[in-house]
């Protein structure tokens, strides 16, 4: 469902209901659409994105990171980086916003059924993976082993730390890592690609889903290939500067593909066929 079936540029009005401070630079916003029918009908796939508007400042694209079954709110985690995100960070419960979406393709979770899944995330890269992880936990019997390697620069840069024990309770094998030793930190120390090599998950019947900063993705891909993962077993979500979000404005293309409309989720196999313009 698009916010307006008639005018794809017109956002649906919503309101911030809760703000969670995740890290010094990342906040999570829970948003409810004003129109309760549209809120209930807002249907999306894990991995799909939406354009979040602060009227007067502009729009930016974020992944919807609440699970599709959650009809109480739509959740977005926003890293403060530019003009729009700066303004979003100033929002408080009750403030009006606009939501245009869902947009993009989402993860092909049907094709992942009966497979073991390893999520590999760095920093804010956990946001798109969280939705799919929660979706898979809701449909636990459809998937094999689920594991997660999640890293950040420091303990306070990890998102959703308050939820991780719950994921573990539901059977997710979680490995957390930070770049350098920190007081009170009892988990791993080291970059995500290094931890991946140490963990050495078997590629046998396994899908790897990767999201994080470009440099992390680059070395994780190298590591996965070393472990014997083939391109069809690896998925990632891409980021580009987007404006319209619907494949028209021409901004986020990689060759003939538009990240906003054809992505943001791509398998490595698909990426191999695209022009290398990351």
């Amino acid at each position: 469902m698009l916010a307006s079936a008639v005018n794809p540029y017109l956002p649906e009005l919503g309101r911030v209901v809760e703000v969670i401070t995740e890290t010094p630079t990342i906040k999570t916003f829970r948003i409810v659409l004003e129109n309760t029918e549209k809120m209930q009908a807002f249907d999306f796939r894990p991995g799909q994105v939406a354009q979040l508007s602060v009227f007067g400042v502009g729009e930016a694209t974020f992944v919807i990171n609440s699970p599709p079954t959650c009809k109480d709110y739509l959740q977005f985690s926003v890293m403060r980086a530019g003009e729009v995100t700066q303004k979003i960070h100033q929002l408080v419960p009750g403030d009006p916003v606009g939501v245009r979406g869902p947009l993009g393709n989402g993860f092909p979770y049907e094709a992942m059924q009966a497979k073991n899944i390893i999520f590999i995330a760095g920093g804010i890269g956990m946001a798109p993976l969280r939705t799919l992880l929660l979706f898979m936990l809701e449909n636990r019997k459809d998937y094999g082993e689920i594991s997660l390697i999640y890293g950040a620069r420091s303990p306070q840069d990890l998102c959703y730390r308050y939820e991780i024990p719950n994921w573990q309770k539901k059977g997710v094998d979680v490995v957390l890592t930070v770049d350098a030793e920190a007081p009170g930190w009892t988990h791993r120390v080291g970059f995500v690609p290094t931890v991946l090599s140490e963990e050495a998950p078997s590629p046998n019947n396994r899908i790897a889903i990767v999201c994080g900063p470009p440099i992390m993705i680059k070395f994780v891909l190298f590591g996965l290939r070393e472990l014997g993962f083939e391109d069809w077993q690896i998925y990632t979500t891409l980021e580009k500067r987007m404006k319209c979000g619907i494949g028209i404005c021409g901004r986020c293309n990689m060759g003939e593909k538009f990240v906003c409309a054809d992505g943001p989720v791509f398998s490595m196999e698909e990426l191999q066929g695209m022009v290398p313009e990351l």
Partner: protein, 369 residues
């Protein structure tokens, strides 16, 4: 290969507008349509021809292709997508509500005196705005409310290459009325049902036999004339094959100034940006032309830029027109061969030579490997 179906239903209604009666007729049409005509304006920097809304003072100028295409008639350089206003919440005055107002208001429009290449620009853009995953309602409303009276082109120059990209000086794809300029005036022919209203509003007599014969001769000549000699076959493979060969892109685009004029004058360049403006509690969301030749176009908030230099940006422009667009939209080349990018480029980059160069390098690479 081209999207819009040829106008099949030929209306046999023809009229003749004597040269001296043109303004009178356009004035009459202006009461029913917003009429755009090409007009000449000169300044200390030289002359330009641009499409402007007709007024009684207008002096329509048809003897040269316009400097700027009539792109802005359908895709204005800047337009409001919607307006918004923050208002106090009646239940809780400490909170604000927001009111959104859509602003789609296309007027009935007639573009009088466009060239076949100009109209072809819209036929190409239709693929993006009307045939993609989402319908662009702003473009659609203007497109549906706009008629094109297109001039059979008799004065192509060295930069023109419409015949190389599927068009031609007599091409009427996407047009509603054919205008043939003869020595005494203009023969107008309706090409579809939409044209009937315009033709009848002109209140003109049918052409004489001689005027008809004149027009037919000009049309035949235009039909048989080949403008330009660029061979676009193989451009898809060549762009993909040479994508990472920065040497060839340096050969082509080293002198590029990233000024973006090629995109602004191009009938098929449609990239836009979306921005907000606000004053006090009232504001607008705007869309305006943007250019893939600008550094900031793909600059991400993190500072990362996937097209950091002019080489990547020119590669994208050429690639989009001759490789990515055809791959996405059933083989359609996103170029109408109007030659404006060639005429306007301050450092004389010629997109025809650029395509030829990429193809040449690619075919040599294929032979050697």
């Amino acid at each position: 290969m081209t999207p819009a179906k040829k106008a099949k239903k030929k209306i046999e209604e023809k009229i003749f507008i004597p040269q001296e009666k043109l303004n009178e007729v356009l004035e009459r049409l202006s009461k029913h349509f917003r009429v755009w005509v090409p007009v000449l304006s000169s300044s200390s920097n030289g002359w330009t021809v641009e499409f402007r809304p007709f007024t009684i003072e207008s002096e329509p100028f048809f003897t040269r292709q316009s400097t700027m295409p009539p792109k802005s008639v359908i895709l204005p350089q800047g337009e409001t997508l919607f307006q918004y206003e923050y208002v106090k919440n009646s239940d809780d005055p400490s909170k604000q509500d927001l009111i959104l107002k859509e602003t789609i208001n296309a007027e009935k429009t007639l573009v009088f005196g466009a060239r076949p290449c100009d109209v072809r620009g819209f036929v190409i853009c239709d693929w993006v705005f009307l045939r993609g995953l989402y319908l662009d309602v702003y473009y659609k409303s203007r497109r549906e409310n706009t008629l094109f009276a297109t001039l059979v082109c008799q004065d192509a120059d060295d930069a023109c290459f419409c015949s190389s990209v599927g068009g031609g000086p007599g091409d009427m794809e996407g047009s509603d009325i054919r205008i043939t300029s003869t020595s005494e005036g203009f023969v107008l022919e309706g090409l579809n049902d939409r044209a009937k209203e315009v033709i009848s509003l002109c209140e003109c007599d049918p052409p004489s036999e001689e005027q008809s014969r004149d027009a037919q001769r000009i049309q035949e000549e235009a039909k048989n004339r080949i403008i330009g000699s660029l061979d676009v076959s193989g451009s898809v493979e060549a762009v993909k094959g040479q994508f990472q060969n920065m040497g060839v892109w340096r050969d082509i685009a080293e002198s590029c100034l990233s000024c973006g004029v090629c995109t602004y004058v191009c009938p098929t360049c449609y990239c836009f940006t979306i921005t907000d403006e606000i004053q006090g509690l009232k504001g607008e969301r705007l869309r305006s032309w943007d250019s893939c030749m600008f550094h900031q176009y793909t600059q991400e908030a993190s500072g990362h830029n996937p097209r950091p230099t002019k080489l990547e940006r020119y590669r994208n422009r050429l690639g989009h027109k001759f490789c990515y667009f055809p791959l996405r939209y059933g083989g359609v080349i996103a170029c109408c061969g109007c030659g404006r990018c060639i005429r306007s480029c301050p450092v004389s980059i010629d997109i025809r030579s650029a395509v030829e160069r990429v193809k040449e390098v690619h075919s040599n690479a294929c032979v050697c490997s």
